[in-house]
Symmetry: C2
């Protein structure tokens, strides 16, 4: 293994993963393909990742002893979600490298910080304003106007912690829905469709992007991602350059998801996620090296895959009762099932996805 | 899940796998994709499959208590190798279904039984004769001639337990190499190349074959498998029909590997393996559903994938010191690495493989 960079992990090393959901699960499988072991840290019992991990620690993020033992047993630490308690990160970073680094987490944990960061990079975002009370909301609505969306600055996902403001009359109710949490008002963006770029940066600074995918949401949750996305060659290049700009500014190591709105005025960044992303699941059946392996390669200090795509893919999420369709999906030709091993198919719960592989158009 | 056959396992069920090597490891990963858990039974410590399995039992095949506990914890039993001690199977089959069934094991465990079975099906094999002593070897050599190969009837793999007989003068030495084990003399087959068919049969009798791959061996160990293989349309059809005939005759459930010699006189069966097969590893990056998932689907009573191939692939085994090439392989575009997590890279040891994905020729 002499030709990998000096700090590259060798097969046999252990990757620590904070979070044992489906992303941790698929990261664990990808790590195994490169000969790595994984150790999952997850507070809840029987997490999906446990079925395919070498070790699992079931403990709270407040349990300093468990965190220290976890760190001692791994060679590098990564994560499947961005809302890791700061105190846990403060402890872990003294013990082992955390990749991607703290800066990416700090920025993506807070919508206001994130939007400000993006704007400072010269990237377009929706108009936005910091909201702390009715007065700041009223002032912001005067400037940004309605329709617009009020969102909590932190801990939102899959449409949670959001309230639409169709007219200024909705303002009070929307603010009440935030339950006193620091919030951000985002202006309405008139976009034709949403795409996302799954991009990666390695320890030595090299960058590789997967082909942008086109996303369709239902009830605030990603429904399908289709590659290739409807984008002009220029838009495609813009999307990739924007992702690269973000990765470089953060001195990022790992995979990052960037959601973009396609508008006549160009691409507008919706949000970034400092981790593997649901809209990148298509790579499992469209590329020789998928987003999960790409992330593991980056955090392990390996060279990245180039992101080449061998097939067109439509990824569809299986949510809640969609599990009843599994027998029918299993009979579809060229449909690759990926189920997460979750016990209960609750409404709105991501239970799996299916990648429908198409031959590339020639 | 009402539309799967009544006996089909539901996600959440546990697949028991006898053997924790790389095949058990990749079966375990495939099972997880369908939401199954796996329980590995393996006598040796720290087997490769343990890193990606839900449970592992480390015990001998003579340990009846461990076997019974294993069987009690799983819903169906499958295996990654054919030389499972009969006594273990006798016990296990009273407790849980074993798929593929005993008949396939009985036949493939013994080269003489296997060749006789194939001949009775009307399939071409090399000329062969049962060898128990010098007299039977002399008689067989008169009939079959030299060059020929003397092989132990049981427990041979990767060229082990074999001795070439170039001239009748080599006979005594070859027989001594068998160390008294019951043996078989196989006549020399003049073939242009070797291909293998990875075929599957489901519980309701449906059959699906992957495209035949072309195999090249080095030092008795598979070196590369290339798809598509060099075969005429007629030969390709013959190969698939032969595999189907074998599957049906055995009332087989699961994936079976069939090695075939290509000769001017048609396809000659070399051997069959009642399990996923090294020459089918290319399917991981060439098909939406690979041989490992196909096997799990079959033993779980699910519908099979259709075996369609979306890409051309060249699979190369990484043996022993080939592990030193990993950094270089990691930099190759479209090369998918699959490492087995084995601690020590001993000479001749299968450490991993790489699937080089090519765009399909159009």
């Amino acid at each position: 293994m002499t030709e990998l960079s000096e700090n590259a992990l060798k097969p046999g090393a252990t990757i620590g993963i904070l979070g044992g959901g489906q992303l941790g699960r698929m990261l664990s499988v990808a790590a195994s393909r490169l000969g790595f072991r994984t150790h999952i840290f997850e507070p809840s019992a029987t997490p999906p990742a446990a079925h395919v991990a070498d070790r699992i620690t079931t403990a709270s993020y407040e349990d300093a002893e468990a965190l220290a033992a976890f760190a001692a047993s791994v060679d590098v630490i990564t994560y499947e979600f961005e809302n890791i308690p700061t105190s846990a990160l403060d402890l872990l970073e003294t013990l082992k490298p955390i990749r991607p680094g703290r800066e990416a987490l700090r920025i993506s944990q807070d919508r206001l910080t994130e939007k400000t960061f993006l704007q400072d990079l010269g990237l377009q975002t929706a108009a936005f304003a910091d909201i702390s009370d009715q007065a700041s909301l009223d002032a912001a609505l005067t400037q940004i106007g309605a329709p617009s969306i009020l969102k909590t600055r932190r801990f939102g996902y899959d449409g949670k912690g959001q309230a639409r403001i169709k007219t200024p009359d909705d303002a009070a109710e929307a603010l009440a829905a935030m339950a006193g949490a620091p919030s951000i008002l985002e202006g309405f963006v008139n976009f034709s469709h949403e795409v996302s770029v799954i991009a990666a940066r390695g320890v030595s600074g090299e960058i590789a992007c997967f082909d942008p995918g086109e996303n369709i949401h239902r009830d605030g949750i990603l429904h399908t991602t289709t590659v290739p996305a409807r984008l002009s060659a220029g838009q495609r290049m813009d999307a990739v350059l924007m992702a690269g700009k973000i990765l470089n500014a953060l001195e990022y190591v790992g995979v990052l998801g960037v959601e973009l709105f396609v508008t006549p005025q160009g691409l507008i960044v919706n949000e970034i996620a400092p981790r593997v992303h649901n809209s990148g699941h298509w790579t499992q059946n469209g590329c020789a090296i998928d987003q999960f392996e790409q992330h593991i390669r980056a955090v392990a200090g390996w060279s990245l895959g180039d992101g080449q795509r061998h097939s067109d893919v439509v990824m569809e999420n299986l949510i809640g009762a969609d599990m009843d369709r599994v027998p029918e999906l299993a009979r579809e030709p060229n449909a690759a099932l990926h189920l997460y091993g979750k016990a209960e198919a609750k409404p709105g719960r991501k239970m799996g996805h299916v990648n429908r592989v198409q031959k590339p158009q020639t």
